[in-house]
């Protein structure tokens, strides 16, 4: 039990940072650049861990220093709950509602840290993070509820037994659509828009605090993508031994994140905070809701179209 927990934690840490390396190289190439080495996230993280961490005196120090710890702890816990490479998660029980809440904690930690940092940039960054969180959580939760309804239970192990993308493709599209916002990538990095508010909530953090806060964000991107892969691709990819499953799943996530997000990051400029709400609450939410209604009304259009009944 302990061994598998340690293995999963280490795997989540390494995979999250590798994912950042891959994403940065793919984006760099779409801009005719070579991009940093694949281990750039590791270099950044360990360099920052060695630096000194300052706390501005105008804030409430407890809240300011608690935020990074909060976001990393919640992410590590989520890593244990999501069945990363085997049908069951490291700690056996894995509940979808718990994971969704855990995934929402890093933005909340960012909001706490930003507003507690006392700088006007932090305050505006925190306000924007709230808007972003509300915006992309709505379609994501509706999509996940639809899948839970179809699977009949919130247990991740039962949900991941069937590949729900073949039954509820619209919900899958809605969930994948929210991925760039969850990863706080270019079109949606309004919270830390470096040209406008000088990296928003991160502005007052330094040293290990900053490293942990970024780690929380990177882990969240990785786990968000893996949750989508686990829920919508399910066990279709778990026929081989644990090791090979690991590689396949990471390959899918890497492809999903680097190709899809890098495309967004390379081809769009940053949106404004007012548009984000309107943007995510129209098409993506519509997709998820129609899928929900169709499923509730017993219209199995995928079965009707392709004769699939869920792998």
């Amino acid at each position: 039990m302990i061994a598998s927990i340690v293995v999963v934690l280490v795997y989540a840490f390494v995979a999250a940072l590798l994912l950042q390396g891959i994403r940065r190289i793919v984006v760099a190439h779409s801009q005719f650049r070579k991009g940093p080495s694949i281990f750039q996230a590791f270099y950044d993280f360990f360099k920052l861990m060695g630096k000194e961490s300052l706390t501005p005196n105008v804030t409430s120090p407890l809240l300011f220093n608690l935020a990074p710890i909060l976001s990393v702890a919640s992410m590590l816990f989520a890593a244990l709950v999501i069945p990363l490479a085997a049908s069951a998660s490291a700690v056996g029980a894995g509940d979808l509602i718990l994971v969704i809440y855990l995934l929402a904690i890093p933005p909340i930690a960012l909001i706490l840290g930003g507003s507690a940092s006392g700088s006007p940039y932090g305050a505006i960054g925190a306000a924007r993070e709230v808007a972003l969180l509300i915006a992309y959580e709505a379609p994501f939760i509706v999509a996940m509820v639809t899948v839970a309804l179809a699977a009949g239970s919130f247990q991740l192990s039962t949900i991941s037994s069937t590949a729900w993308i073949t039954v509820l493709p619209l919900a899958a599209v809605a969930a994948i659509w929210t991925l760039p916002a969850a990863a706080a990538v270019q079109p949606f990095d309004i919270a830390e828009a470096e040209t406008e508010i000088v990296s928003g909530p991160y502005v007052e953090y330094s040293g290990p605090n900053l490293a942990l806060l970024q780690l929380g964000q990177w882990l969240k991107t990785f786990l968000y993508a893996s949750l989508i892969v686990v829920v919508f691709f399910g066990t279709a990819i778990y026929h081989f031994g644990t090791g090979i499953n690991l590689i396949i799943e990471f390959a899918i996530i890497a492809l999903l994140v680097s190709a899809f997000i890098a495309f967004w990051q390379a081809t769009t400029g940053r949106t404004r905070v007012t548009r984000v709400l309107r943007y995510y609450w129209t098409i993506p939410t519509l997709l998820a809701v129609t899928d929900l209604i169709l499923y509730v009304a017993d219209v199995r259009y995928m079965h009707f179209l392709f004769g699939w009944a869920g792998l």
Binding site: G21, I22, V26, H29, K34, P36, S37, I38, F39, Q40
Partner: protein, 163 residues
């Protein structure tokens, strides 16, 4: 373009793992165009010490040093703006604009000029690590005013272009 793109992408991934740097052309392989104005080099044999270059230099970088044994004109590379006014005004064309763009000097007020000390080019990229530390120490002796400076021949053999 697409195939080149994918090959390049794979190479960038492996570069990170293998640890080689991604630079394609090292600094010393850069060719500078013909009209490039690098460091001005004074040829002491031709120089008649008229001092006109010192007067015309906009940055006041040329100094006429009259010491006990011999008078010499020296260009203080730290201030030179490479405008080639001195090269144009010199009646005996003793000053030529070389192609040396690598004019780093170790301390800001060093009276040293490129024409004085032996110009050591950065070694070829092949044996890069080994000798560059050696070159660095020997390149920067703080010359006493009177030591006999070995001036390289005017057509600056070690300029990157005429290699």
């Amino acid at each position: 373009m697409a195939s080149g793109f994918i090959k390049d992408l794979i190479r960038s991934f492996t570069v990170g793992i293998v640890g080689k740097t991604a630079t394609v052309r090292s600094a010393s392989e850069v060719e500078v165009p013909a009209a490039y104005r690098g460091t001005p080099i004074i040829d002491p044999e031709k120089c008649i010490l008229c001092g006109r270059c010192g007067k015309v230099c906009p940055a006041g970088a040329i100094a006429l040093r009259t010491s006990a044994s011999e008078k010499s004109v020296r260009i203080f590379v730290g201030h030179c703006v490479f405008c080639s006014e001195c090269a144009m005004i010199c009646p005996v064309s003793a000053i030529t604009m070389s192609k040396v763009w690598d004019t780093v000097v170790t301390d800001r007020l060093s009276r040293d000029t490129m024409s004085e000390r032996e110009i050591k080019r950065r070694p070829r990229p092949k044996e890069k690590q080994a000798s560059s530390s050696v070159a660095r120490e020997s390149r920067e002796p703080t010359p006493q005013a009177e030591d006999s400076a070995q001036i390289p021949p005017t057509d600056n053999k070690s300029g990157p272009t005429n290699e």
